[in-house]
């Protein structure tokens, strides 16, 4: 899903750079308000995990492949703002390697970071809230992770497809093919993200923002969901 430079119109990549800069600035402000320095080592390791997971492509038979994006996973663990900041760092280092363009950085960040984290977090929190009425928190967060990772991947692919329609030759049929292949990739994303969350549920549950007594609760105050969304997380 990493778009290189030179394929999309300049007006679009510059617009997306501007939009992404606003979200990046907001994420830095939110992290400063909500996180303290005791969590820094975990943030560093999570960034390394996401970077490593994006290095390795799993096969999508017979002709394509996919890799973990991790936006929903990060949003569930740390909340959307910190998740966004990690995705921003990962995409920046990848761009230095030529994986995704420098000019297209804003567009890639918007699709995988902003949209991925907010959509992943919103879907997951709705499912989590509903499931906790019928089962325990830890099972609920696993199911919420799987479903939200699946749909977030498809939503991000659809958004990318809409942006690609600005390129001559990219038709709605190609958009359907793009979304179609990402439905299969989304299954892999859901499995990998759920496996990572399952590990943390067992090893370090305090790092999952949805769970009670979490160290990373940030804007993910489940009981104050509508307030968090409308007020940008001012729920201290």
């Amino acid at each position: 899903m990493h778009v290189p430079d030179g394929v999309l119109p300049l007006w679009l990549v510059l617009t997306m750079l501007g939009i992404s800069a606003v979200f990046l600035f907001a994420s830095v402000k939110m992290v400063n308000r909500k996180f303290d320095d005791r969590l820094v080592p975990y943030m560093g390791v999570l960034a390394a995990v996401i970077f490593a997971a994006q290095l390795v492509n799993f096969p999508v038979p017979p002709f394509s492949s996919g890799h973990l994006v991790g936006s929903a996973l990060l949003a569930i663990m740390l909340g959307p703002w910190a998740g966004m900041l990690i995705i921003a760092l990962v995409l920046f280092v990848q761009a230095l390697y030529g994986d995704g363009g420098i000019l297209a950085y804003g567009l890639n960040f918007f699709n995988m970071g902003v949209l991925g984290c907010f959509a992943g977090w919103a879907i997951a929190i709705l499912i989590f809230k509903w499931l906790t009425k019928v089962t325990e928190e830890k099972k609920s967060v696993l199911v919420a992770t799987a479903i939200s990772s699946f749909f977030t991947t498809i939503i991000a692919a659809f958004a990318l497809g809409l942006e690609l329609l600005s390129v001559e030759g990219f038709t709605t049929l190609a958009l359907s093919a793009l979304v179609g292949v990402h439905v299969i990739i989304a299954v892999g994303e859901a499995i990998l993200a759920t496996a990572v969350i399952a590990y943390f549920v067992k090893a370090k549950p305090s790092l999952i923002s949805f769970l009670k007594d979490s160290d990373t609760r940030e804007v993910s105050q489940v009981d104050k969901f509508p307030v968090s969304v409308s007020a940008g997380g001012s729920d201290e």
């Binding site: 560093g44 970077f51 490593a52 492509n57 394509s64 390697y97 093919a177 292949v181």
Partner: protein, 93 residues
Amino acid sequence: MNKEDFTKFVIPALIVIIAIIAVVILGGLASGNPDGFEWAFFEFAGIHEPEGGFALFQFGEGPVADLLAGITGIGIILIAALACFWLTSRKTE
């Protein structure tokens, strides 16, 4: 961030991540097919793929070069994330 957190959590996690990446890359377990975007855009839609592009780090071809690039990237992202979150988080002391 104290030294204990670093030695108890960061270093072991880093070793595990690098070990997994090494097994996957050197074992040829990763797919070489184009990813979903590349397939739909360059192959299905038939749009011309631009040559090269900007890349600050290049390690050549082959699994060893891929592994070296991966380990370097993991090191860079870890340092960048630690620095970034250290600068942006609230200080407890």
